[in-house]
């Protein structure tokens, strides 16, 4: 019995450690996933903002062109 008990304790500790390792691995996966998500969000944000910036640029150019064309085409808006 005496020999069995220590063996049983050892096996229980090992199990706990193994379980811990398993848990740690699981947590690691989750945290890695979280990192990936955050990375993705960051890259997505940056990419979105850069695209929006180019879009803003084009829109501004478009607005100016349209304004110019409007001024060119507009007639009869005279003083007094």
């Amino acid at each position: 019995m005496a020999s069995r008990e220590p063996q049983a304790q050892m096996s229980q500790i090992q199990r706990q450690i193994q379980q811990d390792w398993a848990n740690r691995e699981y947590i690691e996966v989750i945290t890695c996933s979280i990192k990936k998500i955050s990375d993705f969000l960051n890259s997505f944000d940056v990419s979105c903002r850069s695209r929006l910036a180019t879009l803003n640029e084009r829109l501004s150019a478009l607005e100016r062109r349209v304004e110019y064309i409007e001024a060119r085409v507009t007639k009869g808006e005279t003083l007094s």
């Binding site: 811990d20 989750i30 349209v66 001024a71």
Partner: protein, 656 residues
């Protein structure tokens, strides 16, 4: 140090405190770690949501803008299809009436402000410790400053920049105003002088005269003034020859008059008859004294010789002041002398007139020069000048009294201003052809005066006013002179000359009508030419246009004459100076008014701009606008300067 925009909250997931009663520590740690992971996920989802919301909002803005553009493009499509290429697009009138194109696009500015701060950053900002409530100390500050700004001032750099830009703008504004004022001043004075003639040409002359004055003043300090002037006089005499009187007479007269003058001065105050005779001497005397003291003996001898034979026209400046009184007396006793004196007086008047149109500066300078001249010769208190009659009574006080009289003239100034052009030519002729010029300006008077017949001549126009003065000799001394001087300053050169002739009749300070100047010169030329000098006649024959050109030269000559004139002249000039000042004041006022208008417009423009005080763009635009104006003003000035130089050269060449 990077600023973390979004931080996922729980860090160090597994680092937790395990309680003493926990049996399975590993499980405890694992559970807590998992719980923290869930917190991280929640934080992450929150940030993700915030991120997406921001992107969505921005995308929505673009969507709206794109929609607006789409609408405008659609409208444009319709408009463009409706355009009629065959019809006339715009009439000439419409082009002028068309609204100027004004861009409505807004530039991004104030990008980093509370309004544009992203939610995540504002959350982090909210976590910061608030600054100490230093603003509670504000009531105890006496300088009214915000106490908190000594601890933290987020607008410090913006205000710094804003102040710099505003200072820049102010500086450029001031420069612009200065330039505008100068322009206005020059234009106004040119208009006054020329009555619209050659406004540009006058400006350079004024500058040159001012420079000459400074140089002359320095010469006077050294006592050298007389030498160069005499040389000039000699030159003039040599050139004119016909007008011999100018150089020689002044000297001889001066000596004689000085002696008489000193003795006569006390008696003159109350005595009219004696005064007239004495006075004439006195007038000439002070003038001559100054010259004698400083003049080189050799030059004097030369001048005297000239005087004996001829009337020195050149020296007119020296005689200027004495003329009126002298004329009367001189006519009887020293006709030749009296004539030159008259010319001198005329010249004086004429000079002031010339100067007035160009600028007030010339007159004051003239006044200063005489004072300088007098300084070397304290014995001869320059009272001699036309206004000096008063001085004779009380040399210093009288002279000053004479000044007050000038005020009355101001009204005439305006009229004179108009008449100035007419006088100008005559005066110019006189100054230009020193000897001849004198004759020409007072051809009627001068010609008559030169010849014994001159007595007959005087009666014509001036007598009445002159008569008044003679009636009350004492009053004349003090009062009469002033009236003549003021008119003389502006446009009385001719008129003064007439009075001189009248003086022959015994009417020294007649205020003849200013308009007579040109006409009288032309018509009188023949009469006066014979007696005085053939050259004078020739000069008088010169066309009016030429006279105008010569005006510049005459003005220069007048300035010289003024400077050479004795202290008497200086006093006389004082009265004119006031007149000129009045003109300056008027000009300045005009300029100021114009400025105000411009400033108002500028302010209105600025008001139109949205939030000009806070708006960075508006500040920048204002600064750029001022810079642009300054640059334009510079270009304009350069161009004008070039033009002026050209004109001045042309005038000089013409005069030569």
């Amino acid at each position: 140090m990077p600023l973390i925009k979004r931080g996922i909250e729980p860090v160090n997931l597994s680092r937790t405190h395990v309680g003493p009663g926990v049996q399975n520590e590993l499980e405890c740690v694992t559970n807590s770690t998992l719980a923290n992971v869930i917190r991280q996920l929640s934080s992450l989802s929150k940030h993700a949501e915030d991120m997406f919301s921001e992107l969505t909002q921005e995308a929505n803005n673009f969507f709206h803008r794109a929609n607006q553009i789409q609408e405008r493009v659609d409208r444009l499509k319709i408009k463009v299809t409706q355009l009629d290429s065959t019809g006339e697009e715009v009439s000439l009138q419409d082009i002028h009436m068309r609204k100027p194109y004004k861009s409505s696009t807004k530039k991004d500015q104030q990008i980093i402000t509370l309004a544009t701060r992203p939610e995540a950053i504002s959350e982090i900002y909210a976590l910061c410790d608030a600054p100490p409530p230093l603003d509670k100390l504000n009531p105890y500050r006496e300088d009214g400053k915000d106490s908190r700004k000594f601890y933290t001032d987020p607008t410090y750099f913006f205000e710094l920049w804003c102040r710099e830009m505003q200072n820049n703008t102010e500086l450029t504004k001031k420069e612009l105003h200065k330039r505008k004022n100068k322009k206005l001043y020059h234009v106004h004075q040119a208009a006054l002088v020329n009555g619209g003639q050659r406004p540009k040409g006058r400006q350079p002359q004024m500058i040159r005269e001012a420079k000459n004055r400074v140089q002359d003043m320095q010469k006077y300090k050294d006592g050298m003034e007389f030498v160069p002037r005499q040389s000039e006089i000699n030159r003039r005499a040599n050139n004119v020859q016909g007008g011999q009187r100018s150089p020689s007479r002044p000297n001889s007269l001066e000596i004689r008059n000085q002696n008489q003058y000193t003795a006569d001065v006390p008696t003159e105050n109350g005595q009219l008859p004696g005064y007239d005779s004495q006075y004439s001497h006195q007038d000439t005397a002070p003038y001559g004294q100054v010259h004698n003291d400083t003049q080189v003996m050799a030059n004097q001898a030369m001048n005297q010789a000239w005087n004996d034979g001829h009337c020195p026209v050149d020296q007119v400046p020296q005689y200027h002041e004495p003329p009126p009184y002298n004329h009367n007396h001189n006519l009887e006793d020293y006709k030749p002398v009296s004539e030159p004196v008259q010319f001198n007086n005329n010249i004086k008047h004429y000079n002031p007139e010339v100067t007035t149109p160009q600028g007030t500066t010339t007159k004051p300078a003239a006044g200063r020069l005489p004072a300088l001249v007098t300084s070397p010769r304290p014995s001869a208190p320059p009272p001699a000048p036309p206004g000096m009659q008063n001085k004779l009574d009380s040399p210093m006080g009288a002279s000053r009294e004479s000044l007050p009289p000038p005020p009355p003239p101001p009204p005439p100034d305006s009229s004179q201003m108009e008449g100035v052009p007419a006088f100008g030519p005559s005066s110019h002729l006189n100054s230009l052809r020193d000897s001849p010029a004198h004759h020409s300006p007072s051809p009627q008077l001068g010609g008559k005066s030169t010849t014994p017949d001159s007595i007959d001549i005087p009666p014509p126009p001036p007598p009445p006013p002159l008569m008044n003065t003679p009636d009350t000799p004492s009053s004349i001394n003090s009062m009469p002179p002033p009236p003549p001087t003021p008119p003389a300053l502006e446009s009385q050169p001719l008129s003064t000359a007439k009075p001189l002739h009248d003086d022959m009749v015994s009417v020294p300070p007649p205020p003849p009508p200013p308009p007579d100047g040109l006409i009288t010169i032309h018509s009188k030329m023949p009469n006066g030419d014979l007696p005085h000098s053939p050259k004078l006649a020739v000069n008088s024959n010169l066309s009016v246009s030429r006279q105008v050109d010569a005006v510049s030269m005459a003005s220069n000559a007048s300035s010289n004459t003024i400077s050479s004139s004795s202290t008497l002249k200086s006093e006389d000039t004082v009265a004119p100076v006031r007149d000129t000042r009045c003109d300056l004041l008027a000009a300045i006022r005009e300029g100021i008014k114009l400025r105000k208008v411009e400033e108002r417009r500028y302010k209105e423009e600025q008001k139109k701009l949205p939030s000009a005080s806070i708006d960075v763009q508006s500040i920048m635009e204002a600064a750029f606008e001022m810079r642009r104006k300054a640059l334009e003003a510079n270009d304009d000035e350069d161009d004008e300067d070039d033009d002026d130089d050209d004109d001045a050269n042309g005038e000089w060449s013409d005069g030569s």
